[in-house]
Assembly symmetry: C2
């Protein structure tokens, strides 16, 4: 078992990474009160809820099981968590436990941030995507029909338990989606890790525990470092959004849940790579290595056939990375080096370039 520390002053917390952690990590050490509410979904609860509850015999433990999928990450379903908390008379000392993927983590974290103006929570991410991404950094929230993650809070857990054993039940498609975020860390800040991923993609897809453990650890380290420097995304933290502005447009345009978040980020990163190449910031070889690695993870490298470049632009204009109507994008200046960029520079030429890149990266 590896332990990483996310360093955020009095909001610091540990991330545990390893096999068989539902048995090895003592949950009780991270619970202050006597009440516990486990939040899970219809897919994950049958697999792991009993195991988690067996650790919590000394607590007054309740659970609430939500429907599974990104399309349920909204205010209405969030309210089901509040219903359960109030029906069970949970007070300000309750601890929420998020048992599931990124959607469960984001919603449970946001519910914890808001319930009685803030209670404790523990993250138990069960997908690769949530282990390397949403469980680190305290971004919580829900979607709005007009934009992804538009309603939320920065809120940190007591601890994160990334149990690699739980990845054994993960569908292949979701494993690939998780690898999109893993590859992202290589692209934005660690060329050495990028090369390691090129060499070990086969092991990762075969779910080799050592390879998965290293990839998760390196990804969490990367993210924890960036988040420690900029907890509420005033600046540098934005580089974590490589491919996300394009990706969010795909997710919203196709309807949440049609494309998995990681799939949309995969295609979105290809667009960011293409744009960086067109600006002369990536070599042809770097572009090819990037696209090849994304494809080798089983991810789409083209956007959906049904969306026009104008639709992207419209959806990208309501993304959180917009300032005064101008789209900010994360681009690459070489592998392992991301920059926050305003490629529009206010000119119509540059918006034409973005549209052109989107069209190039569309499936025909």
């Amino acid at each position: 078992m590896k332990t990483l520390h996310v360093d955020l002053g009095e909001r610091s917390y540990p991330i545990f990474i390893g096999q068989d952690l539902f048995r090895l990590v003592r949950l009780a050490d991270y619970i202050k009160g006597s009440q516990v509410m486990v939040v899970s979904n219809t897919t994950v609860a049958p697999l792991y809820l009993a195991q988690i509850r067996s650790q919590l015999a000394d607590f007054n433990t309740q659970s609430v099981i939500l429907p599974d999928g990104e399309k349920y990450k909204n205010l209405d379903v969030l309210n089901q968590i509040f219903d359960a908390l109030l029906q069970n008379r949970c007070d300000r000392h309750v601890t929420l436990i998020a048992l599931g993927g990124g959607v469960i983590g984001d919603m449970t974290g946001f519910a914890a941030a808001c319930y009685q103006r803030g209670v404790s929570f523990i993250q138990i991410p069960t997908t690769l995507l949530s282990q390397v991404d949403s469980s680190v950094g305290g971004k919580t929230g829900v979607n709005h029909p007009l934009g992804k993650n538009m309603i939320g809070a920065f809120y940190q857990p007591q601890c994160v338990i990334a149990n690699i054993t739980s990845l054994n039940t993960l569908p292949d498609r979701e494993l690939s989606a998780g690898l999109a975020e893993v590859i992202k860390y290589g692209l934005i800040q660690d060329a050495g890790f990028f090369a390691w991923l090129e060499a070990h993609m086969t092991d990762l897809l075969a779910r080799n525990p050592q390879a998965l453990s290293y990839a998760i650890e390196r990804s969490c380290q990367c993210k924890a470092e960036i988040v420690a420097r900029d907890e509420t995304e005033q600046g540098i933290r934005a580089i974590l959004n490589l491919g996300h502005t394009f990706g969010h447009a795909i997710e919203a345009g196709m309807g949440y849940g049609t494309w998995l978040h990681g799939e949309a980020v995969g295609a979105g990163m290809v667009m960011a790579v293409e744009l960086s190449y067109r600006l002369g910031w990536l070599s042809q070889q770097e572009r090819e290595r990037s696209v090849t690695l994304i494809a080798s993870a089983g991810l789409p490298i083209q956007g959906p056939t049904t969306m026009s470049a104008d639709e992207y632009i419209k959806l990208m204009a309501v993304d959180k990375k917009v300032e005064a109507g101008r789209i900010k994008l994360i681009l690459l200046k070489g592998l392992g080096h991301a920059v926050i960029n305003d490629p529009e520079n206010g000119s119509s030429d540059s918006r034409r370039l973005i549209k052109d890149v989107i069209s190039t990266c569309q499936a025909q």
Copy 2:
């Protein structure tokens, strides 16, 4: 014009108190970006929205008008603010302005806390209650059918503008409701202010601007001092809830909006005073002065006829001031001195005492 400073480190902000402030305070000084969203309700917007908007000609200003009343302080109506923000493509640099009473302030503050994980907001409280209470201290949120203010955040505004001139349009019933919170500050921490209120209640009810200005200033000072010592209510801040646990039960039991918050707090404070008296902590004379002052403000000094003591207990058991099933109450040990108390001490005797006090303070 008086200026008070709420001292919360980097979250500090000024409160302006005085007449004609919609003209005198330059709103633009507290707005960082170019976008502004004014949130108001159907009662207040016709009176003051145009005046506020005329100050904002240099900004891209939109407004959203919510229905008026405590019963609309819920997640669904909150979502109307998010709808307006997204439909108008407001980005992370938007400033929200709360123009209205406590409900508008609480909802706008919570919307600001959550929109894109946090944007700026300005409080323009237009009722006495909101000027002395909800505009200071950063408590924001909405109600849940099972409990008041159960979903929310601690979130501070850029500034608060308490314009006494706007109280001229306030219905008498709401003026009285506001005075409940003013009296509370005398009871919990300032015996001198309590005596001042006894001497000036007639002036306050006649809306004498000097009297109102002093009462608001003293109340805000009181609250600001307490909040600065305990921003997120880990301890001492709880004394601000004198009468509120009983009061919240009345509000929830009668249906939100039937009793005004201040009316419920008025009757609730009488119950807290009665319980303190029964415990031997207030003299008979102190009890009588308290009840007389509350009555002289035009407030109810008895609970509703239709609620049983058991109903109170049931509703009080889901209040936020509950720990491990035991009801914490704010009581008085002499005028001007509040204590946080667990009158139950786990015994059935003490619960019987609470019920007995409730019954005594019920209208027959």
